[in-house]
Amino acid sequence: MSKRFLISLIFLTLVGAGFFGTSHLFTQGGNYPIRKIFAEFAIQHSKSDTAAIQIKTHVHNEIEIRKKLKILDEIFQSKNDNDPRLDLEFNQISQETKEALEKKYNELHLESRNERGTIVFLVGKSLSSEKDFQFLRQVLAEAPCLSLSDCTSNLSHPTQDRNSHLGSVNEITLEYPQIVALKSIETYLANHSPDPPLMQIVREASHSKSPIVSHMATSLEHQLLKDKDMRLFI
């Protein structure tokens, strides 16, 4: 048996262990010795160092994503919006993590307004790509949530359910993910030049069926145009 054959055999065994036999390890915290051995071995013995580094990076990203999703689940479970990990663990998150968060957003019930808004907030903190902007566009284009009990059905009785006293609290929560999306755009544009795709998203939101979203988007658009005009005159 040649040395190359032996190396290939060990490599394939480790690949199998890494992706099938030890998949449960990726869901838990702590060290990952088999993964580490696999990654080191791949770098040392692969014909293509670039491919090995890519594998290592992928595995590392996968662990990071699962770790962050686990943290987020813990925060959702606790209903503690002041969990410092929201600031410490979600700064400059990778594109892969943002995509995992977006997937989670779509899996959540429509009525999970705070949880959905939290994900928009976390993605919105690290806006950097066209994909991020498209996610915000998708959020802003959602049909208005009609009731905190059931977003798709307005079951309110015209008189019995009228709650003018503190109704606006519910109204803000109904549109919370969309409001957070607009806040994220506003924060982003405070430090960046308004680029056409983002301005287009704001413009589309100004035609939202939700009066609150429409109003906020219109105000933001006017503010941005005003600032732009100011820059032109300076």
């Binding site: 606790s78 209903k79 503690n80 919006d81 002041n82 969990d83 410092p84 929201l86 600031d87 009525e111 999970s112 307004r113 705070n114 949880e115 808004g117 939290t118 907030f121 903190k125 208005p144 009609l146 009731s147 905190l148 009990s149 307005n154 309110s156 009785h157 015209p158 019995q160 359910d161 009228r162 709650n163 003018s164 006293h165 503190l166 109704g167 606006s168 609290v169 519910n170 109204e171 803000i172 929560t173 109904l174 549109e175 919370y176 409001i179 957070v180 806040k183 939700s210 009066p211 609150i212 109003h215 219109t218 105000s219």
Partner: protein, 226 residues
């Protein structure tokens, strides 16, 4: 042995933590737990400064101040539907001026934590018998937003014009809760950026319910002047 002592000390600490009010027996444990957690959070807030109106109404932007404010206003918390399927909390002076009623929506609806706290602090202001429970003013007719659009509820479509859902003073329930939240948004030093953002969002919304020009100007000068 040390482990056992630590556990005993931990539970002794928990049981000694008092909110200064009692829950009725029929308030579900989950609602009690959530309300305690929310009030524990507000009890941790820290800051270096505060606005003048906040100082006048509450004192410093400080957890202990908020805890004392709540404890001095609310003696008991009961379970009620508050006459509305969408209500979260209410005060019914006819029954008991210092009692706050919570609905199942407190935990059923997915509100940000700041929104739940805003509701209970709004209601706690309504317990002040000496100030006539800070009754609300009727919103003007027409009641328009800054763009001239009629202010209305988006899920019932009902216009707020003529409804008792506005304040003419910065010191009422809308004013005091928006002043509290805007101060947290601006000055809290140990809040997450989400809490600060949420506090700003809900405060700005409550500001729309202030209808007298004098009150609006005072709040603007206190908190919105750049």
């Amino acid at each position: 042995m040390i482990k056992i002592l630590s556990i005993i000390a931990y539970f002794s600490f928990l049981s000694s933590f008092s909110f200064g009010f009692t829950f009725d027996n029929d308030v579900p444990a989950k609602i009690q737990d959530q309300m305690k957690k929310d009030l524990e959070f507000i009890g941790t807030i820290q800051s270096q400064t505060q606005s003048d109106l906040h100082k006048e109404i509450f004192g410093a932007v400080d957890g202990q101040t908020y805890s004392q404010f709540f404890s001095s206003h609310v003696s008991a918390v009961g379970l009620n539907e508050c006459g509305n399927n969408n209500a979260v909390a209410c005060v019914i002076p006819f029954y008991d001026s210092s009692k706050m009623w919570i609905t199942q929506n407190y935990i059923k609806f997915s509100h940000p934590e700041v929104a739940r706290l805003m509701v209970v602090f709004h209601e706690s202001r309504h317990t002040e018998e000496a100030n006539g429970n800070w009754p609300h003013a009727n919103c003007p007719q027409p009641f328009l937003d800054a763009d001239g659009t009629p202010m209305k509820s988006i899920w019932t479509g009902a216009a707020l014009a003529g409804e008792p859902a506005c304040d003419e003073t910065p010191y009422g329930s809308y004013g005091s809760s928006l002043i509290m939240l805007k101060n947290i948004s601006k000055f809290c030093t140990n809040c997450t950026s989400k809490v600060k953002m949420d506090a700003g969002i809900y405060a700005d919304d409550q500001f729309k319910r202030i209808i007298s020009e004098d009150a609006k100007q005072r709040i603007h000068n206190d908190l919105y002047r750049s």
